[in-house]
Symmetry: C2
Subunit: 379 residues, 2 copies
């Protein structure tokens, strides 16, 4: 029993931590519950119930399935679902009509054949990259609705009325979700993407800031004792960048569905963010390697003459490029032209030139920085 109590305390702590890390998760939970409760009203109040009957179930189902964390994801699912239901419903009724021409015996065979054909074809299209990216959920609902309509029509006489009822309850469910997710503490995928990229730029800057000092401190002391744990965790902040590709892509995908909000237009060039993200990630790969140098075989080799020679330009280069990156990050945040960054890039280039004569091994991280600039200024 004592262990159970400890476990419960653990879970409680975990919950508190999640809530504190991102309070929007709590808000989101409440929003989902609210949407669900509103939609269930269709069952509780007789006048509404009489209008829709048991089809009201579909409103509940829709809310549970399409309400996602970001506005973009919710809109994408809602629109996909609505459109796919409409299309598949119409096709299903058509299939029903076609099958009925074959008489009592032929009908189930024709319907079964049609369901088989459409299910196979639609499942195949789900593997098209473009469809998988934007319309995967729509195709799923298309198969679902078509099979249901084609199949249930065989028994239910008033199929058009039923289809109409279902479509309207799905629209009600979808609209409830869209309204609540847009107007009640919205979480915009576009904004998330914007902040994520700016944060990633800052993380790179933090690393470069610390790197110059760290690297040479190590060499001089001959041991890494100078590297406190605290510094280290701050330095490896860039590591998270290595694996944000999937997150960035899905956010950009969802952002595409979002209407104008805040400082973002309807057709904001979200793809450029992905381009910047790719460059940032390439930069992070280089930094992963640089970080390897700090921790690996260079340790304990003492200060060579070469190192003393390159120390000054290296440190300067690293801190200048850190400044340039910070400048870029803040320019991205405020969406202004990063003019101040140009100076730092110039300084950085001078430092690189100084360094080149001594050693080339270092300059790689920089070439990427120069590539980032044009992409950001376009955005």
């Amino acid at each position: 029993f004592g262990r159970l109590k400890a476990k419960a305390a653990d879970v409680g702590k975990g919950m508190k931590k999640i809530g504190q890390d991102d309070p929007r998760i709590i808000v989101h939970s409440v929003k989902v519950a609210l949407a669900l409760t509103i939609v269930s009203l269709f069952y509780y109040f007789r006048p509404l119930y009489d209008g829709f009957g048991p089809s009201g179930m579909w409103a509940v189902l829709t809310v549970v399935v399409i309400f996602e964390f970001t506005v973009g994801a919710t809109l994408s699912k809602a629109l996909n679902r609505g459109l796919a239901t409409f299309l598949a419903g119409s096709l299903g009724i058509g299939a029903e009509y076609l099958a009925s021409l074959f008489g009592e015996k032929g009908e189930p065979i024709v319907l079964g054949f049609l369901v088989f054909l459409l299910a196979a074809a639609s499942t195949f299209t789900r593997f098209f990259p473009h469809i998988k990216k934007k319309y995967d959920y729509g195709v799923l609902i298309f198969i679902l609705t078509f099979s249901l309509v084609a199949v249930s029509g065989y028994r239910v006489e008033k199929i058009i009325e039923l289809a109409h009822q279902r479509l309207s309850t799905i629209i009600i469910g979808g609209a409830t979700c869209m309204i609540i997710s847009i107007f009640l503490c919205p979480v915009w995928a576009g904004e998330e993407l914007h902040n994520l990229i700016a944060l990633n730029l800052e993380k790179l800057a933090t690393f470069l800031e610390g790197f110059g000092g760290e690297y040479f401190a190590n060499s001089e002391d001959g041991k890494s004792a100078a590297l406190s744990k605290d510094d280290q965790s701050c330095l490896v902040g860039y590591r998270s960048i290595l694996n944000t590709k999937a997150t960035e892509e899905s956010l950009a995908n969802f952002a595409w569905w979002e209407p104008r909000h805040g400082q973002f237009r309807l057709r904001h060039p979200w793809k450029l963010y992905l381009k910047v993200a790719v460059l940032v990630r390439q930069c992070a790969y280089q930094i992963e390697t640089l970080n390897g140098y700090i921790n690996s075989e260079l340790k304990g080799q003492g200060t060579s003459e070469l190192e003393t020679k390159i120390e000054e330009p290296c440190t300067r280069m690293s801190s200048e490029s850190a400044k340039a990156l910070k400048e870029l990050a803040s320019a991205l945040k405020t969406m202004t032209h990063p003019s101040a960054a140009d100076i730092h890039v110039q300084n950085c280039k001078t430092a690189v030139d100084d360094l080149k004569d001594a050693l080339e091994a270092f300059t790689l991280g920089k070439s990427d920085l120069l590539e980032i600039l044009p992409a950001v200024t376009v955005a």
Copy 2:
């Protein structure tokens, strides 16, 4: 009209390509269609229909929603759905009973309150990392079923019979999917993961094999004209490794659900694969940097004395580690102990020692290789 024709031809080509790249996609589409057609039989044949009535719809719905590409994913969804439906159904009936104690007026209020509470709590638990990983779909279905049962019970009298019918149709749908996905040309997530890791090791080896020659050829010619396009595309094969993390993790996740198959036990240590994958990816980061050297500022700088000195050990090291990696990949494929690889690692270490006196910049890729070994031998 001409453009439409061209577009249709494009789509056709795209379809053919997808089918050729992975014929299992076509097989998968046919399997889904087959499962769906079998399940729709419940509607077509009167004796079966009389047993289940309109609840047969849930079998169709289940098949469409849970049939996934790999066996593991299908099993995970099917089991999640079955369990969640059962749990939420029981709880829903309990809530129904509890609410009925509050009389005609109080019932909808109590039910609405319970739905709100459970929906908020369940949505919150979906953000727990552990639950998100394995039971996300189950929680979704839990909310869905609970709301449906709690809400529809208010109108439908024979709620237990209905719940029973729904549960059995869902089980029928789920069982159909599981049987077809396991016994008809199964695609095992575990096997996919196994092959992916082996392929990634091979890609690293291919790069290292070509790298030594490439690097020094470049330096000597002073230009990269020697680098044919064909070689290059073969060298950058490792790039795909940089972004397979998400794929690997979901495959390992699904593999956890799979029963014994082929050479894999029920509790095969899938997590070790992920560990190897992390090391492989770190190695790929280093290689990304090495590759940068080939293409960037070292070009056109002519042959320095230092480079001539390090050429021999570098080339040897790179080809030896390539051999070691190939050995590891084939050992992983056949699941034997990679004894031959030890020799190459030894050779490689000797080469590294030779090199160390001359330059350290290169050795980094190697330290990872040594780390990979123990992890693989454990697997």
